[in-house]
Symmetry: C2
């Protein structure tokens, strides 16, 4: 395929994407395929000779689209969103099209530098302390990771090495392996599984901290656990706070947890993957009070800021902390205006796509006010859904609705709620996933779509109540027969 054909095919693909997004709400949001559906639909090996583009595109319709879960549909209410937008898609196309890769400054100066400045823009939008910005020419700053899992891992590894060095300063004979074997990390019992995964990779013990009635970690609980563990010879070194937990979007009380972490030399990382994006709105910013005690902070613009996956931002008051885990001879000697310019050291992968273009395009095409309006609309729609649930006596709300997530369930058994979700998934008109809260099976309804409107919320609720009425009627009939 030469440039001339690319012009033609590229424009067709742009139309394909535009058509897809314009008509997406008429598609079944959850695919009607069985596991293993695809293998038999395509050859078992690559072709020897080139095939035509028409054939490939035909197979996109025939093989791929029937097996796609439509994350961009207004009927998609699962997980947290892939919050993409047209400007983000354009920036991604530019990134793919020019194909330049960043790792040292020299490998792609524009990539290194735009990323540093965009993370400063983001830090200012979030009103982070100045120490988290690189423009102050201190040690702080931010970099883009692919996902929050990577951001959490990077924070934990940085904390691990910092603590090892710190312990060895007062006890030079103690081996690194011995110190690591005594390290202990903490996170909420409601935290994302990637925190535990990071602790396994880092080879350190982790304890899950119980939460209060709002699913928040509180200071006295952590304080007690730290004291217990120190008494048995452990070295508390890392606490991953969550602002906006995955199950129910709960918030740890970082303003009371931070001082404890600081006093105990515990690295406090804040995982605010979804909810942190909303801190660009003044009305939500108070939830971030206490960030001044944190060592690192991360959010995923791809979850709630109209930037396409993958894009997770981590900001640290001492970005140099990342260096803790690399020996000096791995450093390149490129002419870096700032530490963060050699991005190869700031993550597991060495090289990176030009992802900051997505942030730049989106921040400029929406403006801060446009992004705030987007977030507020989602929160408002969630409140509307909450009110619909509260208005129906068969249902209950299971956690405070702060942002775009509503946790709810039918009053009754887990089995009843599982049956309801099964019906919802089987029907395929809307898509939700469940969670467990205090051991109970709960449905999560997350406003995800960029194009989700009031009518979609109303339709979704109507659909849920129709399915639940059938279920309850069947149950009633069944119980009637049994009596």
């Amino acid at each position: 395929m030469d440039a001339a054909e690319f012009r033609r095919r590229g424009k067709e693909m742009v139309d394909f994407v535009a058509d897809y997004q314009e008509n997406i709400e008429h598609r079944r949001v959850y695919p009607d395929v069985e596991p293993g559906y695809l293998r038999s639909m395509i050859p078992s090996e690559a072709p020897l000779e080139p095939e035509s583009y028409e054939d490939v595109l035909r197979d996109v319709d025939r093989v791929i689209m029937p097996g796609v879960t439509h994350w961009l549909s207004p009927h998609f209410y699962a997980y947290y969103a892939n919050s993409t937008s047209f400007p983000s898609i354009l920036a991604d196309l530019l990134s793919s099209g020019i194909g330049t890769i960043g790792f040292t400054w020299a490998a792609n100066p524009a990539c290194s530098e735009l990323e540093t400045v965009m993370l400063d823009w983001l830090g200012k939008m979030l009103q982070l302390p100045e120490d988290f910005l690189s423009e102050t020419q201190g040690q702080g700053g931010g970099v883009i990771q692919g996902t929050a899992s990577e951001a959490t891992l990077m924070a934990l590894l940085s904390a691990r090495l910092k603590t090892v060095k710190c312990v060895q300063e007062s006890d030079p004979q103690r081996s690194e392996a011995d110190i690591i074997s005594k390290l202990i990390a903490y996170t909420s019992e409601e935290a994302h599984s990637s925190v535990e995964k990071a602790s396994i990779i880092g080879g350190v013990v982790i304890r899950m901290v119980p939460t209060d009635e709002h699913f928040s970690v509180r200071a006295e609980t952590l304080e007690k656990m730290v004291a217990e563990d120190k008494a048995t010879g452990y070295i508390p070194f890392f606490f991953c706070a969550t602002l906006g937990t995955t199950p129910c979007c709960a918030f740890d009380k970082i303003d009371e947890l931070g001082p404890i972490c600081n006093a105990e030399n515990i690295w406090m990382h804040i995982d605010a993957a979804y909810a942190g994006c909303a801190f660009i709105c003044p009305e939500f910013r108070p939830l971030l009070n206490g960030v001044e005690f944190a060592d690192s902070f991360s959010i995923n613009p791809n979850k709630f800021l109209l930037v396409g996956f993958d894009c997770s931002a981590i900001m640290m008051w001492v970005l140099k902390g990342f260096y803790f885990f690399l020996p000096l001879h791995l450093f390149s000697t490129s002419l870096s205006p700032h530490l963060s310019s050699d991005s190869q050291h700031w993550g597991i992968p060495m090289a990176r796509r030009f992802r900051s273009l997505k942030l730049w395009f989106v921040f400029r095409m929406y403006g801060l006010r446009g992004l705030q309006a987007f977030i507020r609309k989602h929160v408002e729609l969630a409140k509307t859904f909450e009110n619909l649930v509260r208005g129906d006596n068969n249902f209950e709300i299971c956690a405070e609705v702060v942002m775009g997530l509503v946790c709810f369930r039918l009053k009754g058994s887990d089995e009843l709620n599982k049956a309801l979700l099964k019906q919802i998934t089987r029907t395929g008109k809307i898509y939700l996933v469940p969670c467990k809260l205090r051991g109970r099976f709960v449905l999560r309804f997350v406003v995800c779509g960029r194009t989700t409107e009031l009518r979609h919320i109303q339709e979704a609720w109507k659909h849920i109540t129709e399915l639940s009425s059938e279920l309850l009627q069947n149950l009633f009939d069944h119980e009637g027969k049994e009596n």
Copy 2:
């Protein structure tokens, strides 16, 4: 921006990319900017109100392009390539445009399943042992990682947990921390820095294995080190072999190393990021003999198979090995037809872009023969360059030329060669990076561009010899004066 505007802007962007690639050779390949150039060119914070798309695009030309190192230029001979192509860019646009994300099977069945089948296609193209394929319904198979650094880390972590379990079977009282503190990994002194980085993350000791005169690790060297380390109480557990090292594209002798690893219960991972792609050509496949002894194998289609960054493939004869490092309760219960369907467990990040589309588009649009022809052309161009170097008595070849990389230098001091590279970089007509071989400063010339032709190689050589003649003349004049 709505779908209608996206149609217009998207088509403009397609033309922008096509124009860029059609005219790329007239651009200065290495940018003429100083570190820190960008910050003063754009505002220090995000705009409050939306800006126009025209303004954003104008700034792409004004701010970004002057700071880009043009990886897709035929004048780019640095690192290893970002080997992208138009079908890959189209597939990436499709992936961004439909925005569906994979991690469980249910989150995106098409993504999970196409990835599994594409890795089987790739495994067959490479003639990997059947155990590395998932279609045999054994425990093997492949998944896509972002980069080779991640693939290496995943292999090392899997090996670590496998060994811990193995040791604990015979000695249940021994703690995990104690075992890990005794683990020792090995890799070539010529290996990529990501192997050492992986060992640091995994908290294990690593030893660099000296190489023979061809920069290859040999069996007897490794065998001796393993014996020494066992004698002092270490547990050898991981060897990362390299096929196609970063400095000079050397090949470890895996056919003689494999049996030792198997006998010693050492996990052998093969990092063949660049050169492994060429094993789809029968004439290069013998370099992979011995893969049957390996536990895992990875290549980067984005380096040499016309697939855009990021795309690294890892195949394991026991993909289940990855599970070693995750506790059972982190597993989802989705209906997986095969282990690899829940891709969230097969890497550091949980979620993933729909990257297998890139493989599918490229494999089909080029066919196996088209990909082989692409590789052979690059190798042939490198041989041409090698002959040009050999024909000039001022220069020497520093390592055997097997694929697309030529290591060469001016006969003379490191300072002389550094001066030459400095002139090359300052002139900006072509772009190379150096390496060290046996302590000497060496220039690397890698055929990278999809559109690199014979005339570019000849021009590059003419440019290099002109600059070197000037340098040598100056040196001669200077020495003449001194005498």
